[in-house]
Homo-oligomer: 137 residues x 4
């Protein structure tokens, strides 16, 4: 089995990712794209997406890209900047882009956008590559 | 009604916060403490708490502290550093501490710990104070 | 006088910016580019650029872009991710890109690269717009 | 020679650290404290400490604490939150506190204060432990 399929299947192991409605749309060595529906159950008391919901998709999609190196990774740290609230959109989209794919550390930028491509949030995640292979030899 | 009760009640408006099992344990002008259960439905594919779950409690508890200024706030940005995975704990606890309570900007540090007080994660959140009062005059 | 010239001249007021050899190369509403020489006096004990030197150019160039809104700004926060050390380069370059230009808050991404365009560092800065105009009416 | 002396001597290798006037005041396994003078040559165009100056002391003092593990470290990332400008102070002080001292990753919080102990800035730095020993066997 190829690594992209392993990474995609891996997400199905988590009840939380399933509950959050996070779907992986595309994945290659340097980019990953996913989406989640903009619905009531992911919102904060003000009616916009809860920071935890946005971080959930950002960490998931960035981590899936980090897994493309073939090893299990742990998140070292991650930040999100909340630029504009989601409104009148069916989905929110998360694009992850590889900034560093090192022997031990992986850095990934994320942009979160709405149906029309308007930028809502941006952030940066750092991952540590463990010695555990995701794919059997 | 006093502001602390308004801030606590405010959390009940969000289905997401309820689903995440986030409880506010204590709240004053400079500190807030909350907890969430360490159970399967908040975990990542590796079996530890999903970054989105940890960020959900951090943003919620830090934001509740930021609300103690009496105005609605929006999260400007927030970061989490993942220091150790939660294991063998019934709850994870989040302690938020005010670092700056300005006219426009509020900065809050968070520590996430387990039942034994072991540090699992730390982070920092910035909030912007809007002109919207949480409490009627 | 136009705002871009005011922003550029503003940098000359700081002895620190002059000592750091930071030059502004280009500036418009959404982008700013600057450079500093890669020389001994900005290095850490390991012989690569000191984090403080890299942050100095990042904060300066991002802040100059933030000033293009016409108001004095203060830095709310800023992070840098150190991806690769500078080596065999005459200058390091900093490109700042506007991610949000709000009424009160401005968010700017920075990339630091070497002579060949290799990515060395990336980061994100948030600024607060004060009520103080940079340009007389 | 003991590790604390090696770490302290190490700072003298950098012309930048010397120019910035950064002094190490105390150092143990979990804490480091340093200071730098609050003088014109470290200021931004507004007359307060340049973000690069503040980051220079934060990265230096946090990195010195990270070196106490006995191995050379590289800075993975670091953020600073600017809470209040320094004013009417002779020195600014930086206190670094170990949050995680792992086999590969080290996390350090920093607080920057003035002569009266007023909090000016706070931040968090992550370091990666290389395989290079600072102290000969």
């Amino acid at each position: 089995m190829e690594i992209a399929k392993v990474c995609a299947d891996f997400l199905k192991k988590s009840e939380f990712i399933t509950y959050m409605g996070i779907e992986l749309l595309s994945l290659d060595e340097e980019h990953a794209r996913g989406r989640m529906p903009f619905v009531e159950k992911y919102k904060n008391p003000y009616g916009s997406m809860h920071g935890g919901s946005l971080y959930a998709i950002a960490d998931t999609i960035a981590g899936t890209l980090a897994n493309m190196g073939g090893m299990a990774v742990t998140t070292v740290d991650g930040s999100l900047h909340f630029l504009a609230p989601a409104m009148d959109t069916e989905y929110i989209y998360c694009d992850a882009k590889l900034r560093k794919g090192g022997a031990h550390l992986i850095t990934v930028d994320v942009d979160i956008t709405d149906d029309k491509g308007k930028l809502l949030d941006c952030g940066c995640f750092t991952f540590y590559k463990t010695a555990q292979k995701l794919l059997d030899d």
